[in-house]
């Protein structure tokens, strides 16, 4: 096998020439006002943003994640970029043809005639939601699926009551930043007793140069409802680092279930570690109601740096939180990811399955907190964190934190680190399977427990991404 490690071609690295409108570079109160005005927001929203901005200004940069990075100049970022031509009646005919060409290249279909996949999609490019499919169809069930900007205009009370309820602006540095300058993301509302009849999905695309993307997503599942939501992300191949700082909030009421899956494939930088997306994300779900359930599944293959801990606050008695994660890093990528399970209610349960795969010169850390508060009688957590190393120059790290304040709480933790064994490779080789195919096979087997949590077609996509990320990782 060749020793030359070439970067696998990042399939989504193209840029599209779309007429866009930008905010001035830099961040101050005027930037916040500009964004709010562009979105046509009510005063309360602007005030909330400005308050968040003040909080952010007084916060220090977090430095506890095990990451190597140059300081970010927050005044050298453009905080708003949106396509000039937007469809007015949510009709595909009015979408800029250049955007349609972009969809084609990304291999996504928002065509409502094509219902086979049974997926409704919101497409967010840079700072703006461009199009949401199947809106009408979903509306018949009372389901609201639209961009957060639309929701602020059309359903102000729902947004006002829930935005920032799970992730307070002061929660952390990037959450405060996001609260000040968030641009677009999805809003989902599932009414009482409704099982959402299709997968809801948002495709996040960074297109413009020097811009940051500040996604804000809010999902509310009323009593006894169910929704499965999936997000995917890609960005052009560029030399400079770009920032994606998202906040996602989920709220599940009594007996409600939210399943949230992510396939993250932001541009990871080149083989020498130049360029790539900084992916700093706060994702948290509140199991507010009795027997509510929130399940996070993530497949993280992209980004130069990933820093995210999708978490569950298990407030309702007998509520249940899950976190399934596959994080793959190659070349000079860094991932610091994991979850927090905060047990508040009685008989709450959580389950964590994390699979980290490192190759090249990359570093992959699992960081997780299981916290059981004093009133969390009979809480139970099971955590399993497995790491796999490919080659000798990468690293895997596990940082499990456990805080149990109630004597009846029970925490089980299993961890393992393995190398792809010479023996396993030789066994595969002997059956005619070459090194590269053998690594895919072994790694896919390693991740199987997580992949089976994904909707079928996305599981296939995830496997493909894994292969692309690990291309040429055995030398």
């Amino acid at each position: 096998m060749s020793d030359a490690i070439e970067l696998s071609e990042y399939k989504y690295g193209f840029t599209s020439d779309i007429e866009q409108e930008f905010a001035e570079r830099g961040l101050n109160e005027d930037t916040v006002r500009f964004i709010s005005q562009k979105k046509g927001e009510p005063d309360w929203m602007l005030e909330w943003r400005l308050k968040s901005f003040q909080i952010w200004k007084n916060m220090p940069l977090p430095n506890w994640a095990k990451l190597n990075m140059d300081p970010i100049d927050f005044n050298d970022i453009i905080y708003y970029a949106a396509a000039k031509k937007k469809p007015k009646l949510n009709s595909l005919d009015e979408v800029d043809p250049e955007i349609k060409r972009m969809w084609e290249k990304l291999g996504i279909s928002l065509n409502e005639q094509n219902k086979l996949a049974n997926v409704a999609m919101d497409f967010v490019m840079d700072s703006d939601s461009v199009f949401t499919s199947f809106k009408e169809e979903l509306h018949k069930h009372g389901i609201i699926f639209c961009s957060i900007s639309e929701a602020i205009r059309d359903y102000p009370d729902l947004v006002r009551d829930n935005l920032g309820k799970v992730v307070l602006p002061r929660d952390n540095f990037y959450a405060a930043l996001n609260s000040a300058v968030f641009s677009d993301g999805s809003f989902v509302y599932i009414p009482k007793g409704v099982k959402c009849p299709m997968e809801l999905s948002t495709y996040f695309r960074i297109n413009a140069e020097n811009t940051g993307q500040f996604e804000r997503t809010l999902i509310i599942a009323e009593e006894g409802s169910y929704v499965s939501y999936l997000e995917g992300c890609t960005a052009p191949q560029r030399d400079e680092n770009q920032l994606h700082a998202a906040v996602v909030e989920l709220i599940a009421h009594d007996y409600a279930e939210i399943k949230y899956s992510t396939i993250q494939n932001w541009y990871p930088g080149d083989k020498d570690g130049k360029g790539g997306i900084y992916n700093f994300v706060t994702k948290r779900g509140l199991c507010e109601g009795y027997k509510s359930k929130i399940s996070w599944t993530q497949v993280e293959t992209g980004s130069a740096i990933t820093w995210k801990y999708p978490s569950c606050v298990l407030k309702g008695d007998e509520s249940y939180g899950e976190f399934y994660s596959v994080a793959v890093t190659n070349n000079h990528q860094q991932a610091d990811t994991g979850t927090k399970m905060i047990h508040v209610g009685k008989n709450t349960k959580s389950r964590i399955v994390s699979k980290g795969i490192s190759a090249g010169y990359s570093h992959n850390s699992y960081r997780g907190l299981v916290k059981m508060l004093a009133n969390a009688e009979n809480a139970y957590n099971f955590s399993q964190c497995d790491s796999m190393l490919i080659g000798k120059t990468c690293g895997a790290h596990t940082f499990p934190y456990i805080e149990v304040k109630n004597k009846t709480g029970k925490v089980e933790h299993e961890a393992s680190t393995s190398k792809i064994g010479e023996d396993q490779l030789f066994y595969c080789n002997q059956r005619g399977i070459g090194d590269e195919e053998a690594v895919y096979l072994i790694v896919n087997g390693f991740c199987k427990e997580v992949f089976k949590e994904l909707p079928m077609e996305f599981a296939v996509e995830a496997q493909k991404l894994l292969e692309i990320t690990l291309e040429n990782s055995v030398g």
Partner: protein, 248 residues
Amino acid sequence: MLSIQNLHTKIGDKEILKGLNLQINKGEVHAIMGPNGTGKSTLAYTLAGKDQYENTAGDILFENQSILELDPTERAHLGLFLCYQYPVEIPGVSTINFMKTAINEMRKAKGQEKMEAKEFLELIRTKAEIVELNKEFLTRAINDGFSGGEKKRNEIFQLAMLEPKLAVLDETDSGLDIDALRIVANGVNQLRNSENAFLVITHYQRLLDYIIPDFVHIMYDGRIIKTGDKNLALELEEKGYNWVKELA
């Protein structure tokens, strides 16, 4: 089919094979017997091309072509199969998936298209019968939590699926109870034909009651020191390995 000529093999600084010669023609079954530590498994591994084994002299010809420079994958593509003494576990990868990948990689090497799903399933069904494996077993992660007998039956199943020209069975009988031994041996007997060949490495004569060899070789200190027919195995059983040391 296979011609091993004056083969010398080292692991690290230690020479294990010290001028081994062996000739196998198609349609033949050869057995190699010998005490522990004489280089039987080294022979199996070096035939398959394992990394740590260094061939310092001699040659291995497979169908008149030297394979010393070929890596394990290329040797497998030529039709060389090793039945492992200790099959390797691959968590999360089912035997079916493993075999599908193996078959398609073999076909790719020959410039053939992938096997159709229907044909593959039919192949699985017929080959599983040979070693009396049920379908549920084939969906389990390969060798992960298998008993000794299950691992060996799985090896023979893979042998049946891949239909190699030459199969090397490395102490396939070790750790098998009599029922598993019978199943494994029956499997091999069903797969024997005039076009392929088997090299059966074993410690005990017992396996050769079920798989009748055409030739029996006694190996000692890195060389083959005596060759005979199946009666040699019986003679060895009777006289014990001390007799071998006297021969050497």
